[in-house]
């Protein structure tokens, strides 16, 4: 049945994240952007929310809540509303852990998951994107070749979230005509990690670049073991998560622009009373709603275990376009003030353009 109704649990999670966003993320956002680094205590504080361990089954020391992409979407919208880069950093562990929960072998779960259930922050990181123009999810340049009981990985990866402190990487590589994911420890021979990369936005996130020069991993390092895994599912999960972050970012722009436009005057009245501005705000609202429902629909398909490729693609592409459009017009509503770093809109504009090119690679 078609239903847009949140459960009470989801509403509670939404409230909790809303207050975390307001109290922790928003106050730190600008200073982290300017300093281009995470606040000292931030990852620990975010860890206390228990987002990663919540969805890890009890038998691997987790809290055993249902793994719910829809609840994630609701949570991520709120975190994205607070600050996308800090949200991306806080969620990096989940990105790695959830892939193992969803598609790992029993042994992989036993080996890697308990580390995410302790009191101390712990992270692995997804290595999907590759440097250079025209990155194509269907034509990865990183390759995996079998050699006896090992795989040999070659290639380069970029935009690896928290690459500086991840214990393991989940490296997506092409193996013949198919794609697979490989768990690579940070100290693997032949792996060099560099960074942080400097970018237009998401400045607080330390993104690393990986160079895999004939990195050898045992066959057991392949996610899902001999059966391998469904890489598209990892991508779909990421795309939906990124979409949810973008919904939050876009909603934040509107909430900032509305009071500004009501206060700011031109030609003897509030600029919000000009149809050009009022209609821009209305269009922003229309699109945020659309973005959210597309995201929920894709999340629901994931949750129900169906192939969510189409839904995740639609949600991501639509959200990417509209989030950018909204942030760009947010600057326009503020006029000259939109261009000044005293207001957060220019930062959201940079974050929007950056997060929307990640293709499904930087979040849960």
């Amino acid at each position: 049945m078609i239903s847009f109704g949140m459960t009470d649990e989801q509403k509670a999670a939404q409230d909790a994240m809303r207050s975390f966003s307001q109290n922790v993320l928003r106050p730190k956002a600008r200073s982290c952007d300017e300093a281009a680094k995470l606040p000292e205590d931030f990852l620990g504080k975010a860890w206390e929310l228990g987002l990663t361990m919540a969805q890890i089954p009890e038998k691997y020391s987790g809290m055993g809540s249902d793994r719910s992409p829809v609840t994630n979407a609701i949570i991520l919208e709120e975190l994205g509303y607070g600050d996308v880069p800090l949200a991306v950093a806080a969620l990096a562990p989940s990105l790695f852990a959830n892939a193992i929960v969803d598609q790992g072998t029993e042994e992989q779960k036993k080996t890697y998951l308990p580390a995410f259930c302790g009191e101390k922050f712990e992270t692995g990181s997804l290595a999907l994107l590759e440097p250079g123009p025209l990155f194509d999810l269907g034509k990865l340049k990183t390759t995996a070749e079998t050699s006896g009981k090992e795989f040999i990985l070659k290639g380069r990866k970029s935009f690896v979230t928290l690459g500086d402190r991840a214990s393991h990487f989940l490296v997506i590589a092409k193996q013949g005509n198919s794609r697979d994911a490989f768990i690579v420890p940070k100290d693997a021979k032949g792996l060099s990690i560099s960074g942080p990369q400097k970018n237009l936005g998401l400045n607080a996130v330390p993104f690393a670049a990986l160079e895999l020069g004939n990195v050898r991993v045992p066959t057991s390092a392949r996610l899902g073991g001999d059966a391998g895994c469904d890489v598209q599912k990892i991508i779909n999960n990421s795309r939906v998560a990124l979409s949810a972050l973008m919904v939050g970012l876009a909603r934040g722009v509107i909430d900032y622009c509305v009071p500004y436009a009501k206060e700011r005057e031109a030609f003897d009245e509030a600029i919000a009373k000009k149809q050009a501005i009022a209609f821009m705000l209305a269009d922003m609202h229309i699109e945020v709603e659309s973005m959210r429902w597309l995201t929920w629909k894709a999340a629901s398909a994931l949750e129900q275990g169906r192939d969510a490729t189409k839904e995740a693609h639609q949600a991501f592409v639509y959200a990417a376009e509209k989030c950018m459009w909204i942030a760009d017009n947010g600057i326009q509503v503020l006029g000259g003030h939109g261009f000044i770093r005293e207001h957060p809109v220019e930062m959201w504009f940079r974050n929007a353009r950056t997060v929307s090119v990640l293709e499904g690679a930087a979040a849960v």
Binding site: M1, I2, S3, F4, G5, M6, T7, Q10, V70, L134, F135, D136, L137, G138, K139, Q232, I235, N236, I254, V258, A261, K262, A272, K273, Q275, A278, F279, L281, A282, D283, H285, I286, E289, S290, M291, W293, L294, W296, K297, A299, S300, A301, Q304, T309, K310, H313, Q314, V317, Y318, E359
Partner: protein
């Protein structure tokens, strides 16, 4: 119920049933398009029997725990019908927009008395388009005969020729502005009430659009919908009640357009698949053809729009306020269907403009979506006022 976007077996059965009859309706789509003057009822068509496809309610009883709600299903059913053909569906429909108004504003007695008729809705006048508060048609009470005397002109009355009666807006007190506007039920055949014209249109040609004249048209005092004769002094409470009708018709109009746009997308997809264009999702921009990217963008736009329509309906069926969401749905769908049908034609090229196919007709039929029941501009005014917490006076 948790968040869910799937249909139950019963939901699917109902929609498939409608689609089957909609496909028959589609066979006559071109006929009605080319015979704008025709008032031939679809029931007189050769394959009319196919329109009646009873759904086995007993075998598939409604289960509120698994089946979609009434309002949501209403939207999906509208889409399914319009996916067949706009005109044939409307021609077959008992009831018009006026029936929704009767339902929303009529007394129980009035609903009982006129509910079985097909009622049009007459709001717009030659001098007022998007601004219903400028209604000039007057209703004056003649206390001697206990009759209202109506005078004025109405245009753009949907199904105005075929309707058996009309709910017309008229003012009982011009000085009172919006508060003076009331709804009156006028039956066809009432002296002084004439159908002045049947419009020739760009699209939806099978569905008639009329212009009315009321010339000292006398109707019984009890034909005032809701029965409240007094004009409220402050605010526009009564007017707002009248406007409330739109909270279901606006998403409904969106659904109409989206049903037509879905037909356009389906036709285009078939053609592209026949030409072996890869339309699969999941990959990156770098590996797509321009045609596939364009088509997927249109398909995504359609889905986004459809979800705003379902959201507005879902709120209504949960008894939650949906004034803003109804406008979001209407505004989104109005713009989306313009782009979708135009885009499908761009993709298919000359094939898209040929009258050998229905795509060009769907473009024409769709175009009304962003105009009637409040233009896209009016919807944005409503949305912006809500966002900004502005009154009608603050932003207009």
């Amino acid at each position: 119920m948790p968040i869910d976007f799937t249909l139950s077996e019963r939901d699917k059965g109902l929609l498939e049933n409608i689609r089957a009859s909609a496909l028959i309706a589609r066979k006559y789509a071109r006929y009605y398009d080319e015979h704008e003057e025709s008032e031939l009822a679809p029931e007189q068509l050769p394959e009319a029997a196919g329109f009646k496809r009873p759904f086995d309610e007993k075998a598939h009883p409604y289960n509120p725990k698994t089946d979609s709600g009434m309002a949501v299903m209403g939207m999906l059913q509208t889409m399914a019908q319009m996916w067949g053909d706009y005109a044939v569906r409307l021609k077959r429909q008992k009831g018009g927009l006026g029936n929704a108004a009767l339902q929303a504003a009529g007394t129980p007695d009035q609903q009982k008395k006129w509910g079985g008729l097909t009622l049009a809705m007459a709001i717009t006048e030659p001098g007022c388009g998007s601004d219903p508060s400028r209604v000039q048609t007057s209703a004056t009470l003649d206390p001697k005969t206990n009759e209202w005397i109506l005078n004025g002109e109405k245009i753009f009355v949907t199904t105005g020729v075929r309707a058996e009666g009309v709910v017309a807006w008229a003012t009982v007190d011009k000085a009172a502005g919006r508060a003076g506007i009331k709804s009156f039920l006028v039956l066809k055949g009432t002296p002084g009430f004439t159908v002045a014209k049947k419009e020739k249109k760009l699209g939806i040609r099978g569905d008639d659009t009329a212009a009315y004249v009321f010339d000292n048209c006398r109707i019984p005092r009890e034909n005032l919908l809701g029965g409240k004769e007094e004009v409220e002094k402050e605010g526009s409470g009564g007017f707002k009640g009248v406007m409330k009708t739109f909270n279901m018709t606006r998403p409904g109009v969106g659904a109409i357009g989206l049903g037509v746009a879905e037909a356009a997308l389906d036709f285009t997809r078939e053609q592209l698949e026949e030409a072996h264009v890869d339309l699969s999702y999941g990959g990156s921009l770098a590996s797509q053809t321009a045609i596939a990217k364009k088509f997927q963008d249109l398909e995504t736009l359609w889905e986004a729009s459809r979800l705003t329509v379902l959201r507005a309906a879902w709120l209504a069926e949960k008894g939650k306020p949906n004034n803003m969401e109804a406008s979001v749905a209407k505004a989104h769908a109005g713009a989306a269907v313009r782009r979708i049908c135009q885009g499908c034609i761009e993709i298919l090229g000359t094939m898209g403009v040929s009258r050998e196919h229905l795509l060009e007709k769907w473009l024409r039929d769709c175009r009304i979506t962003d105009i009637y029941e409040g233009t896209g501009q009016i919807q944005r005014l409503i949305i912006a006022r809500t966002l900004l917490d502005y009154t009608r006076e603050d932003l207009k």
